[in-house]
């Protein structure tokens, strides 16, 4: 990463070296990007206003339609948001601390059910979401205690067991999850305004994503963040330098669970229904896939990986629609088997990334940026 800093950026002080953004322009670009994202739901809102008898000319509507990504598009962005938050948590655990977890979806589920359960006890939703994060942290630390002793493969297997134990708990604990029937919940509301549609809920997720990602980026600049990376790179050396291994491994597990809980809570109040079966091992593997595809140990990569995982099925669906009715389609019975094709593509993509692009999308993105920065004199 350091090789890619722009010319003239010498980082002459610790302060400059530790800054969140390399240059002022990067900071402005990120802020502008978030602001642009915040504008996305507006065309949809405006067009609905027009349909409900607002008085604007037809040409305005055509103009707005250009920028309108629709409810479906916003829904996809919302999914990318909450999955991205949870994937970031997993990336802190796997990519920054080097601890493998195959039970992330279970913690995501704990967050979803906690938030719905808390809301049923009369706590406003916007408060439920962070509280659900804390509840998940507690659960995560309970399961993270073995993590303090284990690493690598053994930890992976322990979290696999945690996945099944928590899933079993969901099916049993009727008071908490609603049992087989699942648990319904409500969208968040603030001062009587309800964030019950994609256009409004988008902002809840956007705020959460920005907060959580800035928090993670800042965490990695502190002593604790550097300690996590030291544990990953060489845990024996880290221990000799006075880093308490058990503490930091458990801490990392707790942070990962907190992020999973927040993501799960956002998921719960978006769908307004949480089902017991949703948080299976396949979902956990998807989270791992996001982290690997996005890039291990990259904060922005977590979001890219989530976006990739959410958009991949859409692309597969588009491809299947394009050849629908053709001979290939009839031979393979694509229409009925599209979900299997999607799973196969996910599996294949994970393997292809591991073989050909082990540093993930974040690395590719840096290469693309460097290419244009140096264009046309790349040497």
């Amino acid at each position: 990463m350091t090789a890619m800093t722009p010319a003239g950026d010498f980082r002459t002080s610790y302060r400059a070296d530790m800054s969140l953004f390399a240059t002022r322009n990067t900071r402005l670009a990120v802020i502008a990007g978030v602001a642009l994202l915040a504008l996305l739901p507006l065309p949809s809102v405006a067009r609905q206003y027009l349909e409900n008898g607002g008085s604007l000319a037809q040409s305005y509507d055509d103009f707005l339609a250009l920028f309108d990504i629709g409810r479906y598009g916003l829904g996809l962005l919302i999914q990318i948001g909450f999955l991205g938050v949870a994937a970031l948590g997993l990336n802190i655990l796997v990519g920054f601390t080097g601890q493998i977890s195959i039970g992330h979806a279970a913690f995501f589920g704990v967050g979803a059910f906690s938030s719905a359960w808390l809301h049923e006890h009369g706590i406003p939703v916007l408060l439920c979401i962070p509280l659900a994060g804390l509840m998940t942290t507690v659960v995560g630390i309970v399961f993270g205690l073995p993590a303090a002793r284990l690493k690598g493969l053994y930890l992976a297997i322990a979290t696999l067991a945690a996945q099944f134990i928590i899933e079993d708990f969901f099916a049993r604990a009727q008071w908490f999850t609603g049992g087989v029937a699942g648990r319904g919940t409500e969208p968040p509301a603030l001062l009587g305004f309800s964030f019950d549609r994609e256009e409004t809920y988008f902002y809840v997720v956007l705020v959460a994503v920005v907060l959580m990602f800035v928090a993670a980026a800042n965490l990695m600049r502190t002593r604790d963040g550097r300690a996590l990376i030291a544990v990953r790179d060489h845990y024996l050396s880290a221990e000799m330098m006075g880093i308490n291994l058990a503490y930091y491994r458990t801490l990392s597990f707790g942070i990962a669970s907190f992020y999973a809980g927040i993501g799960g809570a956002l998921y719960a109040h978006y769908l307004q229904f949480v089902s017991v079966e949703a948080f299976n091992i396949g979902f956990s593997i998807q989270f791992l896939g996001m982290v690997i595809i996005g890039g291990l140990g990259s904060i922005s990569g977590s979001l890219m990986g989530a976006a990739f995982m959410v958009l991949l099925p859409e692309v597969v669906q588009l491809g299947a629609d394009a050849i629908a009715g053709g001979p290939v389609d009839q031979a393979l019975k694509l229409g009925a088997n599209i979900s299997f094709l999607r799973d196969m593509v996910v599996g294949a993509v994970i393997i292809l990334f591991l073989v050909f692009e082990p540093d993930g999308l974040a690395h590719r993105w840096r290469l693309i940026k460097a290419y244009w920065k140096l264009y046309p004199y790349s040497h």
């Binding site: 067991a161 896939g289 799973d343 196969m344």
Partner: protein, 297 residues
């Protein structure tokens, strides 16, 4: 105590446990030889069982021929997987290799569902007798066959690793790759061989389970049940894998018994091995027979 319930459960546990032991053994084989943790072990069972089912029902082959073809197919399947997917990942961190095998698992599970559908399909009947009398217990002959096959496979493993040249080469590779290489053992060949044997042996287990319960994607769950077994026995111990498998099988059925007699919470059967797994990891992470990994800087 209800002996009429407990005894069949224990016997069932022993037979299923022997199958777990076989699958665990083939898991340990890959781990020992190439240090790869195979999360797609269950898919070996699945693919093997479906392929055999296909030979028997679509091609109408007799059982022995279908079985033989399946074994040939799975041997090639294991070699191809190792060469195409796992070989490029040699030297990558643990997580990458684990994820690659998980990816393989997803891929083949979806592929099998696509080709053969999501519903369980029964094998054509192999035995005429419905039940056999064994020490006063009514047992399906398929179960006896499965136990016999498990014992034969275990015996074959024992012979392979102590007496055959390839088995010794494999043990040497597992012990120290560089030394093995300098003695003229082709390490890539050993890796490919370990995958081939593992796929083959797992598919035998898959066929046996398929004959008993019908073939469905539930078979791949055996790949996950392997983890309690191998952790209990020690990740790199073949004997431990067999013992661990049997213990897990019996433990499952004991949990079923305890649940049915006293606790009545339901489904304890499926989840008990995972509680045991966490306990073992906390108390004795290297298992009963595993080598303790001592790290020096």
């Amino acid at each position: 105590m209800d002996w009429n319930l407990l005894l069949p459960l224990l016997l069932n546990g022993f037979i299923v446990g022997a199958l777990y032991g076989v699958v665990a053994m083939s898991f340990v084989l890959i781990y020992k030889a190439s240090q790869v943790v195979n999360f797609a072990q269950g898919e070996f069972l699945l693919v093997g069982a479906w392929v055999c089912w296909y030979f028997l029902t679509e091609w109408q082959l007799p059982f022995w021929a279908g079985f033989l073809f399946t074994m040939v197919f799975m041997t090639l399947f294991g070699i191809i997987l190792q060469v195409v997917v796992l070989r490029p990942l040699i030297g990558e961190p643990v997580i990458s290799v684990i994820m690659a095998t998980i990816g393989l698992g997803i891929f083949f599970q979806a592929l099998m569902k696509w080709i053969f559908g999501v519903f369980a399909r029964p094998f054509p009947p192999i035995f005429a007798a419905e039940r056999v009398d064994l020490l006063g217990l009514q047992v399906q002959p398929v179960y006896l066959l499965s136990l016999a096959i498990s014992v034969v496979i275990m015996g074959a493993f024992a012979w392979f690793f102590t007496a055959s040249k390839h088995g010794l080469a494999m043990r040497a590779t597992a012990f120290d790759q560089q030394v093995a290489q300098s003695l003229g053992i082709s390490v890539p060949k050993v890796f490919a061989m370990s995958w081939a044997i593992s796929a083959l042996v797992s598919s035998v287990a898959g066929v046996v389970v398929g004959v008993v319960n019908g073939v469905s994607s539930a078979l791949s769950f055996y790949g996950i049940k392997v983890f309690p077994a191998v952790i209990l026995g020690g990740l790199d111990s073949v004997v431990g894998a067999v013992l661990g498998g049997i213990i897990v099988g019996v433990l499952e059925n004991l949990a079923q018994y305890v649940d049915a007699e006293w606790l009545h919470i339901g489904n304890l059967y499926a989840i008990a091995p995972f509680y045991a797994l966490i306990l073992i990891l906390l108390i004795k992470p290297y298992g009963l027979f595993g080598t303790k990994n001592i790290e020096r800087v």
